[in-house]
């Protein structure tokens, strides 16, 4: 009985744990070298609040940004699964930048910046990591010079599937590839043979098509239209002569009759062809 009670209690705790509340990771332990961590999986690496990079005459500006990460930010980028809410950042060189990183998913994400000077940032990296829903903040001082830095999440396939951005100091040094909504992939998928399969109904495609029909002007002369015109021109005098003096009922009966005859011919021809072919095959088979 006691154990049952305990189990029930534990499961109640479990229920509470599974509906995880938003967690602020602001009680981090400092492990030195700009590395801070807590037991909930929050992590900052390469934190630098006061060391001025060589080549900077002090701090040029002090900025704070809030970056969101999660599955829902990929909605506007078809074929992506994860994304940041913002893909591009631009700051003056030597800016002291505080990043508030908010993870709206229930898994780990990272805001990892590469290419920083290694004498200031271990491995040349500034790194925020937090399991969502939660927030973690970190500060760095951007180096001098105009450069484009890669910002991404390094969990397996998160960058590949959309969680990638770039941070430029000054005008930057060009664009990085594969940033959702900014630059195309280097290696692209081949969409030429992709569906949807012909003849199926797709809700979105139909909507798009009807919209297209509303917007687009139909061309005045198409190939089928010309064929129709020619057939009409040739057939009308013949039919005029044929139906001269007939009533509507007679015309209908005549049309039916011709159709019946045509079908009859077709059927006979097909059966003849079939018997011919099958006899040939039979002969070959027996030979």
């Amino acid at each position: 009985m006691r154990s049952l009670l305990l189990t029930t209690l534990l499961f109640i705790v479990a229920g509470a744990a599974s509906a995880k509340q938003f967690q602020e990771h602001n009680a981090l332990m400092d492990h030195g070298g700009g590395h801070l961590m807590d037991l909930g999986g929050g992590m900052v690496m390469g934190q630098n609040v006061d060391r001025i990079p060589d080549g900077c005459d002090g701090i040029a500006a002090t900025k704070e940004i809030t970056v969101h990460a999660g599955h829902k930010y990929a909605k506007k980028f078809p074929g992506r699964i994860y994304a940041f809410d913002v893909q591009e950042y631009q700051f003056e060189p030597c800016t002291k930048l505080t990043v508030h990183f908010i993870n709206d998913d229930h898994v780990r994400h990272q805001w990892m910046m590469h290419g920083l000077p290694k004498y200031l940032y271990p491995k040349g990296m500034f790194h925020l990591e937090v399991t969502g829903p939660g927030k973690i903040s970190g500060t760095l001082i951007l180096p001098p010079g105009e450069k484009t830095y890669l910002v991404h999440c390094d969990l397996a396939q998160h960058m590949e599937k959309g969680m990638k951005g770039q941070l430029k100091t000054g005008k930057g040094s060009g664009d990085l590839p594969s940033i959702p909504g900014v630059t195309p992939f280097v290696i692209q998928d081949d969409y030429s043979k992709l569906g949807p399969p012909a003849g199926i109904k797709t809700a979105e495609a139909a909507a798009v098509a009807s919209k297209a029909a509303d917007k687009q002007e139909q061309p005045l002369i198409s190939g089928v239209l010309v064929i129709g015109l020619a057939v009409g021109l040739l057939l009308t005098p013949f039919l005029m002569r044929k139906f001269k003096g007939m009533s509507a009922g007679e015309i209908a009966a005549y049309v039916l009759d011709v159709t019946k005859q045509l079908i009859g011919y077709l059927v006979r021809m097909l059966s003849w062809l079939y018997s011919r072919v099958s006899s040939l095959i039979g002969r070959k088979g027996s030979a």
Partner: protein, 585 residues
């Protein structure tokens, strides 16, 4: 003298002729193929990891393999990442909340609430930025199939270091063995870090159909719960009453998700006081901290997880980046009923890498427990050289001890688990003495890597006296260096190159080879024979038929001539009626 000179002349000409004839009829020469650069058989740089040691109060058994598990990781997984020093945690790739252990509710000296976090990682996946795969996990030299695995929650990068693309050691095949204690409350929290939906089904493990909040707990989307979508988390709650060797796997599009690697072993250890079990056995293989109950009967314990890979399925995630295309190719175009397996792995690797990681290290007169799991789609026919082991458990349930079977081939149908007791008593039955005794699948394709042998799931039971200081067997057969080259598995090396002094079974060098005309034989006899044979073979029934056709034609012609007037009249009436019909219309 003349006579002699003449014979010399004739002889010389004859010699010349015979020489030129010999040159023209020779077959192309043998050439030695450069074998390529061989990796060292063992390239581990952590020899101290092999020793028996105590870390954070946790007893770690010695592991005399080339690549032993990191003992600090083992300690963290035994104590829980919440109960070890930050320094120890920093020596691992584990997240701070990877395994939480607390609440000794029954007061027996071990924690009774275990919170296990699992992420989902893609190995050898596609990159839209460069040719190549990331993060890499080689199952054999140069062999990198795309895979998905459950992984203990890690921290930092997916790669081992900042240079190179090799996956961090927690991200590897197979999905890790999960070990829990009977009666503990276990929360398995699936943090879906992948780009597809997944769930966890606890195969054979005692679990209620719904959890405390009424949500599905069986992992089956069609019956119990919604999909765990990318970025979402779900907790599975269990309190297993029965011990045994079980399994867990994703139950979304199970046929392909399981094959992709989202499947692992799940072991429930018998309840004992002060029983801290090793929650994850990353990469399976030796359990460096066996449970109390196992140590009562055995000296060491090994988890052997067998899997197989169909290239055509595993290629899909390397060919495309758009998850919608991958889903279409995998769910609608890939037809598993037409599939064939190409790679066979033991604990995530194929030979020769198995001998770095998956050796069973033996000593005489000991008992070794091996838990064997087959997650491939075909029967596994496991054979041990030098040993006849006893099957003690089927699918986690102990077999009647009086009826237990001792044998040398253990059949495991898909999803089956066999617990084996490998006795090293040299009695001619259980063991034939010390040595390097391989064990492998005896469906012979299982000992190949995409058809190249040796490869596949071959490993070995190696006695310590046959093991060198690097944990590599003291092999006394052929040179194994070629197996550690990519060229071997790329089928570029003749398997028997250099097997003898003059390389008699080496590669043919047919470049510029001018094939001589074939030796003339009298073909007229053969042709005659052939000619004679054709009517003999098929003439019997033909003659008869030809005769009847002729007969019928003759009758027809005769009738035609006799009735020619009638026929002409009929033809005339036919044409006129047609004309008439047309004019009527």
């Amino acid at each position: 003298m003349w006579r002699h000179a003449f014979s010399v002349l004739v002889g010389g000409v004859a010699l010349l002729i015979s020489h030129s004839v010999a040159a023209a009829v020779d077959l192309p020469p043998t050439i030695k193929v450069e074998p390529g650069k061989a990796e060292p058989v063992c390239q581990s740089n952590m020899p101290e990891w092999r020793d028996a040691q105590v870390i954070e109060g946790v007893q770690i058994q010695e592991s005399r393999r080339c690549n032993p598990d990191n003992p600090t990781t083992v300690a963290a997984l035994v104590k829980g990442t919440n109960n070890i020093s930050m320094g120890a945690l920093m020596d691992t790739y584990l997240a701070a909340d990877a395994v939480i252990k607390k609440n000794d509710t029954d007061g027996d000296g071990d924690p009774d609430l275990i919170i296990i976090k699992l992420e989902v990682a893609e190995l050898n996946g596609h990159s839209p930025d460069f040719q190549g795969v990331v993060p890499t996990f080689d199952i054999a030299p140069g062999i990198q199939p795309g895979m998905w695995v459950f992984a203990p929650k890690s921290r930092g990068m997916a790669t081992k270091s900042f240079v190179g693309l090799e996956a961090n050691p927690l991200l590897r095949a197979p999905s890790p063995v999960i070990r829990v204690e009977q009666g503990d409350t276990i929360w398995i929290q699936l943090e879906n870090t992948h780009y597809f939906p997944h769930t966890i089904h606890l195969h054979g493990v005692d679990h209620p159909f719904v959890d405390s909040s009424g949500e599905g707990n069986d992992g089956v989307p069609q019956t119990s719960e919604q999909l765990v979508m990318p970025g979402e988390m779900r907790t599975y709650e269990i309190k297993p009453r029965q011990p045994g060797t079980f399994a867990y796997h994703c139950h979304v599009q199970t046929h392909v998700h399981l094959a992709m690697g989202l499947v692992g072993m799940f072991v429930v250890e018998e309840n004992r006081p002060d029983n801290w079990v090793q929650t994850f056995n990353v990469g399976a293989g030796q359990v460096r901290h066996p449970s109390k109950a196992v140590l009562e009967k055995y000296d060491s314990e090994y988890d052997l997880h067998y899997h197989a890979i169909d290239k055509e399925l595993h290629d899909i995630i390397q060919k495309f980046n758009d998850p919608r295309i991958i889903a279409k190719k995998m769910n609608r175009e890939y037809d598993m009923t037409d599939s064939t397996e190409d790679y066979y792995t033991l604990n995530g690797r194929s030979f020769p890498y198995t001998i770095r990681e998956s050796l069973i290290v033996a000593e005489p007169d000991k008992n070794i427990k091996a838990r064997v799991f087959n997650s491939s789609v075909e029967l596994l026919s496991l054979h041990t050289h030098g040993h006849k082991a006893t099957i003690t458990h089927y699918d986690g349930i102990e077999h009647n001890p009086m009826a237990q079977i001792t044998r040398d081939v253990y059949n495991l149908s898909p999803a089956r688990r066999n617990d084996l007791r490998i006795s090293t008593v040299d009695d001619g039955l259980h063991n034939y003495g010390e040595g390097i005794w391989i064990f492998h699948d005896h469906r012979e394709k299982g000992i190949t890597t995409d058809g190249m042998n040796p490869g596949g799931n071959v490993s070995a039971i190696v006695y310590k006296s046959f093991l060198n200081e690097e944990g590599i067997p003291k092999l006394q057969g052929v040179n194994v260096a070629p197996y550690f080259t990519k060229e071997f598995f790329a089928r570029q090396l003749p398997v028997w190159q250099g097997a003898d002094a003059w390389n008699s079974l080496g590669e043919v060098d047919a470049r510029g080879y001018d094939q001589p005309a074939a030796f003339p034989v009298d073909t007229s006899i053969a042709a005659k024979k052939a000619n004679r044979k054709i009517p003999e073979a098929s003439g019997g029934d033909n003659t008869l038929r030809n005769f009847f056709v002729g007969l019928l034609l003759g009758v027809f012609a005769y009738l035609l001539v006799v009735n020619r007037e009638k026929v002409i009249a009929m033809a005339k009436s036919l044409t006129s009626s047609k004309k008439g019909g047309q004019s009527d219309a």
